[in-house]
Symmetry: C2
Subunit: 186 residues, 2 copies
């Protein structure tokens, strides 16, 4: 074993690149986020960590709703732009075409192949960031990105975020709940 300690720091091996949608003062706004994951199976929930100072946080607090949108690799420029520029300085309502679903107040980006509209289940103040845990009200999916009625990663071509860079998804290497059957006890 040859390990070094690098101190406590915000680290995760791979993360999804997403756009968080929220209405701020009645206008759609999108911010780039990667600190997000699934939080619960039943009911289906997601969570996303957002800095207190962010313009988007105001919109989430205002409506108690938000959306998570999955951009495909071809939307890298628009996606990164939403991480560079704050809605407080620039109107980002036209970066994507917005549509609304069941919740009416969670704007979703039409160009993104997957859109999840959520209501806030809990907002946990962790320090610099609030972790918003949201219950999914509905998932909208581009018909062209569906296989057997479900989101298909090979059609969606999502963007991975890691160490301040964007990566493509590589090859499928194994099926989960399967390759482990080869394990031989030590």
């Amino acid at each position: 074993m040859d390990k070094i300690t690098v101190g406590p720091m915000p680290y995760m091996s791979v993360m999804p690149t997403l756009l968080v949608g929220a209405n701020v003062k009645g206008k759609p706004n999108y911010m780039t986020a990667a600190w997000a994951t699934t939080a619960c199976m039943a009911p289906p929930m997601v969570c996303v960590a957002i800095n207190h100072a962010r313009y988007t946080a105001k919109g989430i607090e205002e409506n108690n709703t938000f959306s998570l949108n999955v951009p495909s690799a071809k939307l890298a420029v628009e996606t990164d732009h939403c991480g560079l520029v704050s809605g407080a300085q620039e109107d980002k309502s036209k970066v994507f075409r917005s549509f609304y679903g069941k919740l009416k107040t969670a704007p979703m980006a039409e160009e993104c192949p997957v859109n999840m509209e959520c209501t806030v289940f809990m907002a946990v103040d962790c320090g610099s960031h609030t972790l918003y845990i949201g219950e999914i009200a509905e998932i909208h999916l581009d018909r062209a990105c569906a296989t057997d009625g479900k989101p298909d990663i090979t059609k969606i071509n999502p963007i991975i975020y890691a160490q301040s860079a964007y990566f493509s998804v590589g090859k499928e290497v194994d099926k989960a709940f399967s390759v482990g059957k080869k394990y031989k006890k030590k």
Copy 2:
């Protein structure tokens, strides 16, 4: 726009494949998890969603500590095995060599290039799953996987989890906080 609705379901575009380490009744146990992300920058925190019924949950509740370990692709068999078999049925303490850091009660898997030891900041009952939010006490990194003293994804070769399969990380396509500068206002 040609969208379909697929109903609320636990979906995330890409996820990290991790091993959650916890001492259960004084013995190291590891479970595979993918529903995890960074939760806060200051202080550095992570979160991971774990089903109430899981053996690992008992260990986290017992000690108020856990670890997140990042397996490299070559550990796919061992990693998947820890998702197939419960510690309640089989002793998984020998699947990896365990070591302890600052917290003394959060076992970490030596073979995994990155190990984060955490204390529970909050446990949020979301329904079927508890979302454990943990403050990172220390991060241990294989010296061979460091570049300028930081974890390097190209050396770690982590496993992506999506739609019940494992994927490799593809090419770096763009730098974040950079490619968005090409954006032209609509």
